[in-house]
């Protein structure tokens, strides 16, 4: 799985679109495939031209959010790898504070986050943030 600093560093060296997209496709190959049984409609992220499935697990002991995400499109899997590098295994608060738009802007991938893109990246990020919000609220509840 990709490490965020590595992703950032590598992107710095790639100056033409071909190398950048080959790298994105490579990143996509590192994302584990979701168990087909988990690819159910209730896990689909809406607003997607390609299909994206999101399976979040909040571990209350660790206080961390673990994410499994998959797509039927290769480039989207590459973008998922970047989202996972930014979010996976972090605390809900860290996820909410993370500037994902800034990251995509820095990597010159902002167009993939645009509302018209229809690739679901934006809805996926919104869904993860809403899960993180629920988890954050849950985590601050007094224990019974």
């Amino acid at each position: 799985m990709a490490d965020l600093d590595e992703v950032r560093d590598t992107f710095q060296f790639l100056d033409d679109w071909e190398d950048r997209y080959r790298f994105i496709l490579d990143l996509g190959r590192s994302v584990p495939q979701l168990d087909p049984e988990l690819k159910t409609d209730d896990r689909l992220v809406r607003g997607c031209q390609s299909l994206v499935w999101l399976v979040p697990h909040f571990d209350p002991e660790e206080g961390c959010l673990h994410l499994e995400i998959d797509s039927d499109a290769h480039i989207v899997r590459g973008l998922i790898a970047i989202v996972l590098a930014a979010y996976d295994g972090n605390e809900p608060r860290e996820i909410l504070d993370f500037d994902i738009e800034g990251l995509f802007g820095e990597l010159d991938l902002m167009r993939h986050l645009s509302p018209t893109r229809g690739n679901g990246l934006r809805s996926m990020v919104a869904r993860i943030r809403s899960v993180a919000e629920d988890a954050a609220a849950h985590a601050t509840l007094p224990r019974r």
């Binding site: 997209y21 480039i75 989207v76």
Partner: protein, 401 residues
């Protein structure tokens, strides 16, 4: 004389910039300077509300607006301008028929017949009309080539069928449907026919009397005209008998608090201030199209389609969807190992604008069992060089996947 796409391209400022290979013409076409100028000239010299005031500017605006309606009537061979209703586009035209005609003509036990090839805007308005009236909706199957399965069409076209609605040219596959034949079949059971002409108008001459259909809807922006303007053609007897669907100014003859008499056709269906500049722009687009030799244009676009089809079928792993013998210049395809979204993104990086996805025809995608397609759709300013760039782009894309 053969059609010269390079000369045509110079008439379209956005195409002339040459920054993109624009192959998304089925979504919307670019606009020639003649259309842009007409809209600008209208605002600069003639802008006023129509049909209302007793001043000269309003007279001039009304005249320009109504003259555009006459251009449309001539272009589609409507009997009178009363049969030409301005709409926002194809979608609004079909909704008008579904709500006004469908709402009054349909009842429990009646049937509306569409096809699996339809754009959502020729499906959902009928679902709503059926839900309101208790009628049922049936859809004729498509063949593996992407045509309407005529046996299934006939089997579903029963005596209870009151409305039959289908597209002239499929936006997803390019299939040109045999409209005259379908209309004749519908006539045999006294059903009214509604044709979605969104993808036809830019490519060939449509004659509504020759087709024999009762309604024909299209959009200005897909035939080199502005967005936000379209036309619903309807046979006068039918339009006359139909109730208005939206109410307000412009569509009334006289209003008292107790009752209203409606304006004559076509104004009865044009509530509110219309898109005057859009109508004038559409008139200019028709003028532009009329200046082009129709058969030279048709052979040019057909050559683009045939060349693209044969060149892309030679690329390993490419599968073409939609192989009907009669097609408009629309080419849908899939690539092994790549989702349409991947292919579209990689073509976009190479400056080639295609559409990917379900093309607002999800039932068709389900029938073909594909997640969507990559669609290249051609316009008159596209050239064989554009086709070659597409083919080269597809080869390069393949090297990524």
């Amino acid at each position: 004389m053969p059609f010269d796409p390079l000369a045509a391209a110079r008439a379209f400022p956005l195409i002339d910039r040459g920054e993109n290979v624009y192959l998304d013409n089925a979504a919307t076409t670019q606009k020639p300077a003649a259309v842009l100028d007409a809209v600008r000239r209208y605002y600069e010299t003639t802008n006023a509300n129509v049909h209302r005031a007793a001043h000269a500017l309003s007279d001039a605006a009304t005249q320009a607006f109504e003259s555009a309606r006459a251009d449309v009537a001539r272009r589609i061979n409507a009997r009178t301008t009363a049969e030409v209703v301005w709409t926002r586009g194809t979608t609004e035209g079909i909704n008008l028929v579904a709500q006004s005609y469908g709402g009054s003509a349909l009842g429990p036990g009646d049937r509306v017949l569409i096809t699996e090839l339809e754009h959502h805007s020729n499906i959902v308005p009928w679902q709503i009309a059926c839900a309101r009236t208790g009628a049922t909706l049936a859809a004729a199957k498509v063949t593996p080539e992407g045509g309407i399965d005529l046996d299934d069409f006939d089997a579903k076209l029963d005596q209870d069928t009151k409305i039959v609605a289908f597209g002239h040219v499929s936006n997803a596959l390019g299939t040109v449907n045999p409209v005259r034949d379908l209309v004749a079949r519908a006539r045999a059971v006294d059903a009214v026919t509604v044709v979605d002409g969104a993808q036809a108008m830019a490519h060939f001459r449509v004659d509504v009397q020759e087709l024999g259909c009762d309604f024909y809807a299209f959009s200005g922006h897909k035939m080199y005209g502005p967005t936000g303007i379209g036309v619903l053609y309807g046979r006068e007897e039918l339009l006359e008998a139909m109730p208005p669907w939206q109410a307000g100014g412009e569509m009334i003859e006289e209003v008292t608090i107790e009752a209203t008499t409606y304006a004559r056709l076509p104004f009865k269906f044009e509530a509110g201030t219309p898109n005057i500049a859009g109508a004038i722009g559409l008139g200019a687009a028709i003028g532009y199209l009329e200046g082009i030799d129709a058969s030279a244009l048709a052979s040019h676009e057909d050559r683009l389609l045939r060349t693209a089809t044969s060149r892309l079928s030679q690329v390993e792993g490419v599968r073409i969807l939609g192989t009907a013998p009669d097609k408009g210049p629309v080419l849908s395809f899939l690539m092994d190992g790549g989702h349409p979204h991947d292919v579209g993104t990689l073509l976009d990086q190479q400056g080639i604008a295609v559409r990917t996805g379900h093309h607002c025809a999800m039932p068709l995608m389900q029938r073909l069992d594909v997640p969507g397609t990559v669609r290249a759709s051609f316009g008159l300013y596209n050239s064989l060089t554009d086709v070659e760039r597409l083919v080269a782009g597809v080869h390069k894309t393949r090297s990524f996947l």
